[in-house]
């Protein structure tokens, strides 16, 4: 092996690893706050990426209709919850969040009239649509069963994944799509060529990690989320609305998923079901990070990306086998290091 190949593989691995890091962080976030293992994370990726690609191609993506429809259902759920004490303020707030918000996005897209807008606008619209879907997904599918066991939540999560993946096929077809790069510039350092896209990947990943760190360390909502993660009942007793925490977690996770999708869709062709596998690699990173530590997850994600790059070079047939088996030695080390601690299970 020569140094050039080594550097190329490393570069490739780090770029992919940065994406996995984002996904891993989102998974950790959602799990810590809601105990939900977010299988539909993969759909947030594809929805973000393919919505962006469709918008760039001047098409109206089907995801906006889904967002509007889910908003209506979420509103109905809210009304049902409020039925004992119908209070105008809460209803108005629910209308604003569940009805007006998605309709407003649709309105903007309508106004554009199918002309491909500029890249920034398309990205913003894609993020908003996926954010809405993530928010309503929590409201509809998970909030009513938030108190049940991790297993039930996990199965519900699988159900959401199946339904959303089916919608993905309806909206975007079986054909793969690519989106325009955020920047077409490139710089060359030595033998390595850094495209604007890959620099954007690094920059946005670092910015998001710092942003999450600031959010959790220094804002009231961030601290409320952490409190919910540690003890739901305790958090409720001190006045934190745990359902709101869950909604925020899903909002953040869906936005992060969509950003990841938008970042990779110019690099690789995405299909309606690609997100699942990408999301799973984020999982591997999250598990290696122990589902609790953000920096460890980020480091593990880079490792996963690099292992993937190197194994696709040396043993491309066994690439997935190697990546997914990577987790086993880590799990063994983990279980040797920390013997099972007694937990009060419900």
């Amino acid at each position: 092996m020569n140094t050039t190949i080594l550097l190329f593989l490393l570069q490739d691995g780090i770029t992919n690893g940065a994406i996995y890091a984002l996904l891993g962080l989102a998974l950790v976030l959602v799990f810590a706050v809601t105990r939900i293992i977010l299988i539909p994370q993969g759909e947030f990726i594809t929805f973000g990426a393919l919505t962006y690609a469709s918008l760039s191609a001047g098409q109206m993506p089907g995801t906006i209709k889904l967002a509007v429809a889910m908003g209506v259902v979420a509103f109905a759920f809210d009304l049902f919850t409020f039925r004992k004490a119908l209070d105008a303020r809460r209803v108005l707030r629910s209308i604003a969040v569940n009805i007006v918000f998605p309709l407003a996005i649709w309105g903007v897209m309508w106004a554009l009239g199918g002309r491909p807008g500029n890249i920034a606008l398309n990205i913003a619209l894609s993020l908003l649509i996926v954010a809405a879907i993530g928010l309503y997904l929590y409201r509809i599918a998970f909030q009513p069963i938030a108190h049940t066991s991790v297993l039930v939540l996990l199965i519900a999560s699988v159900g959401c994944h199946l339904a959303l993946q089916g919608f993905g096929l309806v909206f975007f077809g079986a054909e793969g799509q690519r989106g325009p790069a955020i920047s077409s510039d490139a710089i060359t350092i030595g033998a390595l060529r850094f495209t604007g896209q890959s620099i954007a990947v690094y920059g946005i990943t670092i910015a998001l990690i710092v942003g999450l760190w600031l959010f959790f360390g220094y804002t009231l909502y961030g601290k409320a989320l952490r409190a919910t993660a540690v003890n739901r009942l305790g958090a409720r007793l001190v006045g934190i609305r745990t359902s709101l925490s869950g909604q925020i977690a899903f909002l953040l996770a869906s936005v992060i998923g969509a950003i990841s999708g938008i970042l990779i869709v110019p690099i690789t062709t995405l299909y309606y079901d690609t997100g699942f596998l990408i999301g799973l690699k984020g999982f591997i990173a999250a598990i290696i990070g122990g589902l609790v530590s953000y920096p460890l997850t980020a480091a593990a994600a880079i490792l996963v990306g690099c292992v993937e790059a190197f194994s696709s070079f040396y043993a491309s047939n066994y690439k997935e086998v190697i990546v997914f088996t990577l987790i086993l030695p880590v799990l063994v080390l983990r279980s040797l290091a920390a013997p099972a601690v007694e937990e009060e299970k419900d």
Binding site: I155, G159, L162, A163, G166, I287, L291, I327, L328, A340
Partner: protein
């Protein structure tokens, strides 16, 4: 006995007649074949996940081991399918041993995620290996045959599939209703209680994991001879996920929930596949997954525990089982319990958690036929001392000796073998097991039937003795009327008493009780005190932690007082009542 077997017999008869009913479309038989195949895997998951609390997404991979083993051996070496059956089961079982040793130690959410990872990894491995035919798999697998009868069509393989389902359901139910079964059912509530009564939890987990894998392997073996081909697709992560939700939809805690779930999911998918395009005018496959996903989420919101308990709630509930039939007494544990002398010696025991010294060089002993009370304000280190004695925690320094022999570093399972049984400050019963079953867990070490014997019902004599012993101890503590109630339905005070009965099932020489009187009414406390006196007079020693001073002062022979981890006094109740250090610790310094 008959009430247990009869419904299964009826079910078996119904299933046996279905293929002969004129007019049954052949397509229904295919569906039933698929239901049976899925039910086998789901049944394993019921034991693993619903009962044992260990979630696995990787069961499809074990089907793959079963299917590929027979596919390879029958095509490459021309072996008879009946010969490959044990091979398939052994290969899936061995794979489970390897994966289980790695993953079963993981707790909580690591476990399901770990299983997703190796599930996917194995799927890719199947689809890349040359000798397994890569993505195309292996075709031309011979059909099952008996003599000249070749089971070529879905109608004939129907019989082996459903015979397997019914036999496995029986074996699974037998297993759950046994000594080993109780150990498995106790796993879901954490390790400490099970280990305190001698259950080797790691081994129990591995056992149920292997059992589930072997059932999946059996399903894979049948599948290979049903399809007469094997390719990687049905052994991938999506199917692994599907098996798990079959179990959850059906009712993950119930053996028949697995069968019901398989029926619901397989039929639902079929109905969606054939009717949705009619309703929506084409559209094809994607609608099916959408509706299927949405229905799944809806179902979970309506019935989070699955459909089986929801369905059986409509049936008239059978009479709850009566007191177990009297049986030969269990032999006493063969230890030489002395009539005098020191049973338990705690010598300068010390436990540090980081910088906090929870137990600070505490020394005391418990003599034969003596009730010793350990008292002290909250946070004095009483429960930690209990955990040091029973091996739940390892002491940082110092020594614990039983009958003069050091037991420092011994695990809880060894301590209980010496005749030291305990209860817990925070009750650790399995709420969805009856009082009788919970208490019988205490006699775990006094039975010897293993998993295989239990499945084949060879354990009945042993089991009858265990249950009779449990019933005896329950009546001894005065809860005879609650014997067949679920432990979770009792009041907290009664649950503490159930814990005492469970500890008595060990046939202990020393009983460790952590706040036994908390939550009891006055009369109940008096009954408890007289029970403990009676036990002492019968030759047992008791070490108890308690806050109720009236209870302690009237009962204990000796009292040891801890404060901030340090022993500040020891003596008779009369001494302790007037000890200035004790008064200071409880009431603060006199101004």
């Amino acid at each position: 006995m008959t009430s247990r077997i009869l419904p299964i017999l009826v079910f078996a008869l119904v299933m046996a007649t279905i293929p002969f009913v004129p007019g049954v479309p052949p397509f229904w038989i295919v569906l039933l074949d698929n239901i049976g195949l899925a039910a086998l895997v789901a049944m394993g998951l019921v034991l693993l996940t619903g009962v044992g609390g260990l979630t696995s997404f990787g069961q499809a991979a074990f089907c793959g081991f079963g299917a590929y083993t027979t596919a390879y051996l029958t095509t490459a070496y021309g072996m008879s399918p009946w010969l490959t059956l044990p091979m398939s089961l052994i290969v899936s079982g061995l794979a489970a041993v390897l994966l289980g040793i790695i993953t079963m130690r993981l707790s909580g959410h690591y476990l399901p995620l770990g299983t997703i990872a190796w599930g996917i990894s194995l799927f890719y491995l199947f689809s890349k290996l040359e000798f397994l035919g890569r993505n195309d798999g292996i075709s031309g697998i011979p059909p099952l045959s008996i003599g000249n009868w070749k089971m070529l069509d879905p109608g004939s393989i129907y019989f082996p599939i459903w015979i397997a389902v019914i036999i496995c359901a029986l074996l699974s139910m037998n297993l759950l209703d046994s000594r080993t079964g109780r150990a498995i059912r106790a796993l879901r509530r954490g390790h400490i209680a099970a280990e305190a009564f001698g259950v080797q939890t790691a081994r129990a987990k591995l056992l149920v994991f292997i059992y589930a894998a072997v059932l999946a392997g059996l399903s894979g073996w049948l599948y290979a001879h049903f399809q007469r081909a094997a390719n990687p697709t049905p052994f991938g992560p999506h199917l692994g996920i599907e098996y798990l939700f079959i179990a959850v939809v059906g009712g993950a805690g119930y053996v028949w929930g697995g069968v019901l779930g398989a029926a619901v999911v397989v039929i639902l998918k079929e109905v969606l596949q054939s009717y949705l395009p009619l309703i929506f005018g084409g559209g094809g496959g994607q609608l099916e997954t959408i509706v299927f996903g949405i229905l799944l989420v809806t179902l979970l919101q309506l019935a989070p525990t699955g459909m089986w308990p929801w369905l059986t709630a409509w049936l008239p509930s059978g009479d709850s089982r009566k007191r177990p039939a009297p049986a030969d007494a269990l032999p006493a544990r063969n230890d030489h319990r002395p009539d005098t002398g020191v049973l338990l010696q705690v010598d300068k025991a010390r436990k540090q958690f980081g910088g906090v010294v929870a137990v600070n060089d505490v020394s005391f002993n418990v003599q034969a036929r003596e009730i010793v009370a350990l008292i002290g304000p909250n946070g004095a280190g009483k429960s930690t001392t209990f955990n040091l004695i029973t091996g739940v925690l390892a002491a940082t320094a110092g020594k614990v000796a039983v009958l003069g022999k050091s037991v420092s570093g011994a695990p809880p399972q060894e301590i209980v073998k010496l005749g030291i049984a305990r209860t817990f400050q925070h009750v650790k019963l399995v709420p969805d097991m009856t009082v009788l079953e919970n208490v019988a867990l205490g006699a775990h070490l006094r039975g010897r039937s293993g998993a295989i014997a239990s499945m084949l019902r060879l354990d009945r004599a042993d089991e009858a003795k265990l249950l009779a012993e449990a019933a005896k101890q329950i009546e001894r503590v005065g809860l005879g009327d609650q014997m067949n109630q679920l432990a979770g339905s009792l009041s907290l005070g009664q649950q503490r008493i159930v814990e005492i009965a469970r500890a008595l099932c060990v046939d202990p020489m020393l009983l460790l009780l952590d706040e036994p009187a908390a939550g009891l009414r006055h009369m109940e406390k008096q009954q408890l005190a007289s029970l403990l006196r009676q036990l002492r007079d019968g030759g047992m020693s008791v070490l108890l932690v308690e806050h109720d001073m009236g209870f302690v002062m009237n009962l204990a022979n000796r009292i040891v007082v801890l404060d901030f981890g340090t022993k500040i006094a020891e003596g008779t109740p009369a001494d302790i009542k007037t000890n200035p250090d004790v008064i200071k610790a409880y009431l603060g310094a006199v101004a």
